[in-house]
Homo-oligomer: 139 residues x 4
Amino acid sequence: MPYVHRLKVRYAETDQMGVVHHANHLVYLEEARTEYMASLGVPYGAIEATGIGLPVRRVDLRYRAPIRYEDDLEVTVAIGHLRAASVRFDYSIRKAEGGSTLLDGSVELACVSLSDRTPRVLPDELRARLEAQMESASS
Amino acid sequence: MPYVHRLKVRYAETDQMGVVHHANHLVYLEEARTEYMASLGVPYGAIEATGIGLPVRRVDLRYRAPIRYEDDLEVTVAIGHLRAASVRFDYSIRKAEGGSTLLDGSVELACVSLSDRTPRVLPDELRARLEAQMESASS
Amino acid sequence: MPYVHRLKVRYAETDQMGVVHHANHLVYLEEARTEYMASLGVPYGAIEATGIGLPVRRVDLRYRAPIRYEDDLEVTVAIGHLRAASVRFDYSIRKAEGGSTLLDGSVELACVSLSDRTPRVLPDELRARLEAQMESASS
Amino acid sequence: MPYVHRLKVRYAETDQMGVVHHANHLVYLEEARTEYMASLGVPYGAIEATGIGLPVRRVDLRYRAPIRYEDDLEVTVAIGHLRAASVRFDYSIRKAEGGSTLLDGSVELACVSLSDRTPRVLPDELRARLEAQMESASS
């Protein structure tokens, strides 16, 4: 089952077009993904504390409709692909009260050593939790 | 010929991983694209003053290597696709002193009425300048 | 009684010093103040819909201790000063679990017409609600 | 003589009020101050490389007039106060083509160890260059 994160649009996230500036959608997706990981018992901060980081290496987003100040949003996160040293999350954003998709797409993360940016396998606990999520989603 | 925009990374654009946060690359591309348009005699602000906007509708980026504080960057912009009511720009980012690609990808813009977000054809002057650029690039 | 808003620090809000970048504290204060106004029945978006805006005209902040990624924060808002065409809010930020003040200070807002930025008296409903808050605070 | 840094407002820095969001002025001041330090031969990145950081501990700003998209700005920086373990810079922002002050104020920086945030005296080279600036300003 996908994870759903709720958030409310801040004034500072708008631009003079009267809508959320397109760079901020990435911040919403990041917040949703890290809340998802925390809900699985693996907060991202704890991963970094072990010297491992998950930098973004690919972003593919379609902006389907504008998001506005004070909108209550639901960001849905699902695991798109799980590999040895990377993971892709798939997302969609809707208003909390329902309606059509405002944005969808994916963000792929590499797993690296924070000290020298060389590839690392995903931390065991994170991998185990994500695999369990994928199994329960497909069963 | 592609357009090259130079910029220098700000401290506020970094995150605790010690590199530029991945949302800020979109701001760099936006700055490069609007400087490109201004260099063609069509500043984006002048387009908005006519009631037309160019919101982002698709983003596809590959982050190939980290960008760091105080890096001097070259953002290269080329026209990827020009349609009646949309335009796609293709980008790459390198350090100004040379080296490998740090990011590449594309950003597609829709052309809309700012008052009701309905599709509009691209402004004549912008279209003419972009077509001229594409012809000179392919000749 | 002051209003307390809770929020959680986002990764994108950190910088390479490993703490929240100092510009983002202003975004936290803005979120707290607009949630406060919404709790009083006067959402800021509704004020702007009438053609009135409340731009910031003065900021005075002391950063007493760093704020970090994933910190759960409590932002306390109180009305500092209420005038005909301006209002000052006073703030402090602490961790939700308690402890010392991480930031305190004030943000003063002017009341203006959004069309031409000329001064306006504060909207009646907002003024009435803020005055009621000040009376209940001092009684 | 004060140092003058020029910059151009980015679209992403505006908000739905059609002006630069008030948090971004702090980013402009930071860019101006670090360019000033670099012009003195002491880039801020080089200071951090020695384990010393200059976090902001006080901000006092007056926003006198709105700043808009595509504005070319001049940020003027002067040394306000130089102490053993802190320094205050004073700023004003104007349009490059002249006109009245859009923002003025000050930002005070503490000098700390990056590893444990304990106070440190300012690096010798930075102090020497700043003192030389103050002497030439007052002579």
